[in-house]
């Protein structure tokens, strides 16, 4: 019995170590956006896991681009309101009292740094882009890399 315990403890630790990374995004409100709108028409959703993307090493990269759907934009803003609690706002743009752009550095989840990027444009058409990033690299560095691309 003792030997069983000895072997099960590492397995349990392993499971506990894996599960937060699997569920890191699920604790956020924005996960609902990906679930609700991801497979709809007029929407482009990306889900990358453990892939290198243009020099960035991401544990997880999720993005969604929604065109001409103001109700989706309102829904995302409501989700972001919840998710920004305890997060650091790197950038925020409010136009006519409406949030149109925000970069959020979320508190770390285990070893993972997490970022949310949101942007809404109106010209030439209404387009919403929401990106969620998880990485073992410092989110400051990821942001610098992203902003350096300008």
């Amino acid at each position: 019995m003792k030997s069983i315990k000895m072997h099960f403890v590492p397995i349990l630790i392993l499971l506990l170590a894996i599960s937060p990374s699997l569920l890191a995004q699920k604790d956020l409100q924005i996960s609902k956006v990906f679930d609700q709108y991801g497979e709809k028409k007029g929407v482009v959703m990306v889900d990358l896991t453990n892939e290198m993307l243009d020099g960035y090493d991401f544990s997880s990269f999720k993005s969604i681009t929604i065109k001409n759907n103001p109700s989706a934009a309102d829904f995302i803003r409501k989700c972001l309101e919840k998710d920004q609690e305890g997060a650091k706002k790197v950038k925020q743009v409010i136009a006519n009292g409406v949030l149109t752009s925000v970069y959020l550095q979320l508190p770390r989840k285990g070893q993972l740094y997490r970022l949310i990027l949101f942007n809404e444009t109106f010209n030439p058409e209404n387009k919403i882009t929401l990106i969620y990033i998880e990485s073992k690299n410092d989110s400051e560095n990821i942001l610098k890399l992203i902003l350096k691309k300008k």
Binding site: E39, V43, M45, D47, E51, I64, T65, N119, T121, T129
Partner: protein
Amino acid sequence: MIINIKRKTNFAEADRLIERYYDGLTTVGEEKWLRKFLMQSNLPERYQVEKDILGFYETKKLKSTVHTLPFARWSAAAAILVVCLLSVKFYTVANPASFAYVNGKKVTDVQKVKQTALASLTEIYSADNEVENGLNSLNDNELIDQQLNVFTNN
């Protein structure tokens, strides 16, 4: 009837072997047979003493077989683990780790998925440029001059 005769023969054989056992003349095979015989239920009372003596060794032997249980447990655990790993493998093949949905259609080609991801990042860069351009135009000296001119002309 045949069973009864056989049973009587067994008793006779058992009595003979018990006698040999006490004399220390039994072979390993004979003792094995005797143990097997004494393990039977519904034996006459006269075999109780021998049953206690030889049965003790038999239960000890049985106990030692209990030690094989952890092996069975571990085999079961290993089998479950293998099944779980295979399930995970099949699941990941059926549901690739990286994918995209474009207008409701699933894309699993990693290169295409990466291109789509980069396109969404570009949306953010370009939006950031727009904001910066807007801020730059606010600092534009020409614009400030024009606005001041409005007051000087008045």
